[in-house]
Every structure is written in structure tokens, then in C-alpha cells.
């Protein structure tokens, strides 16, 4: 009997914890945390928006680190490349959610869905870069060629992250400066708001880990399927030839 999934006891624990903490974050964001003194209830979007942005950064950094290991080993093992690809896929999804939730929050707070300000523009650029990275990964059907091409892009693209994060400090932006990871080290959030935000980061990190493990295994299965298919073809050819010899 074949194992019909990419799950293991460890991923089930991670998934269960992620669901549990996400449940708490939703309850806290909607019913427990107070409205903000200026923004009112729209602050409740922040508990989804900020963690998705941070996890997107984490995903792209993971992609770069895994690509670095893949390059260092001259792509002899494809495990690192698969992690890089899986992490970028999840990162692109989270970055898309950052842009959408940020746009909704912007309409309520700034009065506009979108402006070409430094933070929004660099974030969009980062998103487009990684969409391109994922497209490049799908051009080649050979896994080794895929690894060597995409790792170069991953190692260059990660340099955009400091530009995005510090865009609000480097230039004048409509977007506010960071409330937690800022240059002066002060945390500008009330206690329960901060705890809910922190819980959101933990929940989304667990979701990220769960998704990356499963998608990395999915790529492994896809690569293995090709090898298994090739092996079967060789066996069939051998059988065909030996039948010809005996005939």
C-alpha cells in the first residue's frame, strides 16, 4: 500500500497548532482587542496585514538561503532548490495578501486604495520579481537546470527586502514607519494589540512552515514521478528487446 499524502505526524502537529493559534488571532482581532483611537475598527485589518508582510519577507529570505546552499553544493542535491521554490510560492501568496489587505486598510485610513509612494511601489516591485522567479522555475523541465537558473534570481531578488522595509525611512512615504521593527527600537502598540499581532506572526509562521514542507514534498513527488516514468520506460524497452532476441 502506498502512502497517499505528504503528511507526517510532525506536519500534523504543526498544522493543528497553526489552526489553534489562527483561531485565537481571529477571535482576538474581532472581539477582544479595542478599536484604535484614530483608525477605529480598521485597525483589525492590521492583525492580518502585518503578519502576511513579515512572513513574505521570511519566505523570500528562506528562498535565498536555500538557493545559496543549492549553489554551494553545485545543485548536486535538489532538496535545497525544492525548499527555495516552495518558500517562494508561499511568499508570493502572502505578498499578494499584504497588497490586498493593505489596499483595503488604505481606503479606510488614508482615503485611497493605492498610491505610488515608496513603500507601496517597492512592495509591488518585490511581488512582481518573485512572480517572475516562479515563472522562470517553470520554464525548464530539467530539475537541475531549473535549480541553477532560479538560484541566481533568488540571490539577487532578496536584496530588495531591505529596500522595501526601509523605504519609509529612506524616502518620504504616505505609509507610516514601522511600529515594531523600527530604527529607534520603540514599540508603538498597546499591550493587547501587540500580543494579538505577535500571535498572528506565530500562527502565520506555522502556516508558512506547514505549506513549505508540503509543497517541497509535492515538488519532490513531481520530480520523482518523472524518474519513475523514465525507469519504467527503460524497463519496458529492455523487455521489448529481450523479447525480440528470444523470438
Amino acid at each position: 500500500m502506498t502512502v497517499s499524502s505528504t503528511g507526517t505526524p510532525t506536519t500534523r502537529v504543526i498544522g493543528g497548532l497553526a489552526l489553534l493559534i489562527t483561531g485565537w488571532v481571529v477571535v482576538s482581532a474581532f472581539f477582544i482587542t479595542p478599536a484604535d483611537s484614530v483608525q477605529g475598527d480598521s485597525v483589525r485589518i492590521m492583525y492580518a496585514h502585518v503578519p502576511t508582510a513579515w512572513i513574505a519577507y521570511l519566505a523570500f529570505v528562506t528562498t535565498a538561503i536555500a538557493s545559496g546552499f543549492s549553489v554551494a553544493r553545485r545543485h548536486r542535491t535538489l532538496g535545497f532548490d525544492r525548499v527555495a521554490g516552495a518558500s517562494a510560492e508561499v511568499g508570493v501568496l502572502f505578498m499578494a495578501m499584504t497588497l490586498i489587505t493593505g489596499s483595503l486598510w488604505g481606503r479606510l485610513t488614508w482615503g485611497t486604495f493605492w498610491q505610488w509612494d515608496p513603500r507601496l511601489t517597492t512592495t509591488l516591485f518585490l511581488f512582481v520579481t518573485y512572480v517572475g522567479y516562479l515563472a522562470v522555475r517553470r520554464i525548464d523541465t530539467d530539475p537541475r537546470q531549473r535549480a541553477s537558473r532560479s538560484s541566481v534570481i533568488a540571490l539577487l531578488a532578496v536584496l530588495e527586502i531591505p529596500l522595501v522595509h526601509f523605504s519609509v525611512v529612506l524616502w518620504r512615504s504616505l505609509h507610516q514607519e514601522a511600529s515594531v521593527l523600527n530604527t529607534d527600537g520603540d514599540v508603538r502598540l498597546d499591550g493587547l494589540m501587540l500580543f494579538t499581532l505577535f500571535s498572528g506572526v506565530v500562527a502565520f509562521t506555522l502556516i508558512f512552515v506547514w505549506l513549505v514542507i508540503h509543497r517541497q514534498r509535492l515538488t519532490t513527488l513531481s520530480d520523482l514521478e518523472r524518474v519513475v516514468g523514465l525507469d519504467a520506460a527503460i524497463t519496458a524497452r529492455r523487455a521489448e528487446n529481450s523479447a525480440g532476441v528470444t523470438a
Binding site: S37, T112, T121, D140
Partner: protein
Amino acid sequence: MDLTPREVSEAPRPRRRILPAVVAVLAAVGGLAVVAVFLTSSVDYYCNVDEVGVRDGCADDQRLRVQGNVDEGSLQSRAGQTSFVLSFNGVSLPVDYEGEPGGVFQECIPVVAHGRVVDGILVATRIEVKHSNEYKAENADRLDQAEKTACS
């Protein structure tokens, strides 16, 4: 074992997929477009009120984005027209805006007004609220305190 190669109509070539290549090219073009829009709409998003007519790129004969705080007691709304005074670093600029600003627009809050300066008044076509990076719970104590220290 017969290992003679099978006859094939043409030599096998490494397989490449077309659709991802198209998406990759579109992403590259899109990325360049984003950078182009960013650079042409000026890297610094706004000029502060005290820089209008003083700083490079903030000449008062062109369309500007001006940032400042809405002065306390300056906000007036009449027949769909909103007027207020924008101040920054001790310099003030009256603003006229056709319509009601959206977002969390109010007095004592930083805003960015888009428009042209006509006879010393910024005729705005767009108002955006520039929210600070502080998040505080909405409660009675805070409201009292906020009223006491409004615009300070």
C-alpha cells in the same frame, strides 16, 4: 541486447515551456513599468508645507503633494467645499478642497494634499491622511487626554 538507436523523426530537444516564459517576460516588463512610474512620480512622495517654493522639486508653480498637520479649529465644511489650514515647522498654507476628504480625516492629523497653489491657497484635488505608526486603544481616558493635548 539490441542497443541500436530507434529511428526518430527529429532529434529530441530539451523541453521548455512557453507559458511560464511569457509570464517571466511580462513580470520583467511589469517590474520595469513599476520602477518607471515610481521614478517619474518623484521618489519622495511629498513636500512639507515649509518647503513649498523653497526646496528643489517643490516649486509653487507646479502640481504638488504637500504634507502638514491640519490646524485645530481651521476645518470648515460648506456646500460640499472643505477648507482648512495645513501647517508644518511654523509655516501654514490654506487649503481648499472640493468634496469631503475620506479616510480618518480630522483636525490635528497629518495629511497629504495634492494640488496647485493659486493666490497663496492650495487648491487640492485629493486629500490623503498620513497615519502615524502609533496604535492606541480607543477609551474614555485617552479621549480626555487627547482633547486636552489636541494638536500639541
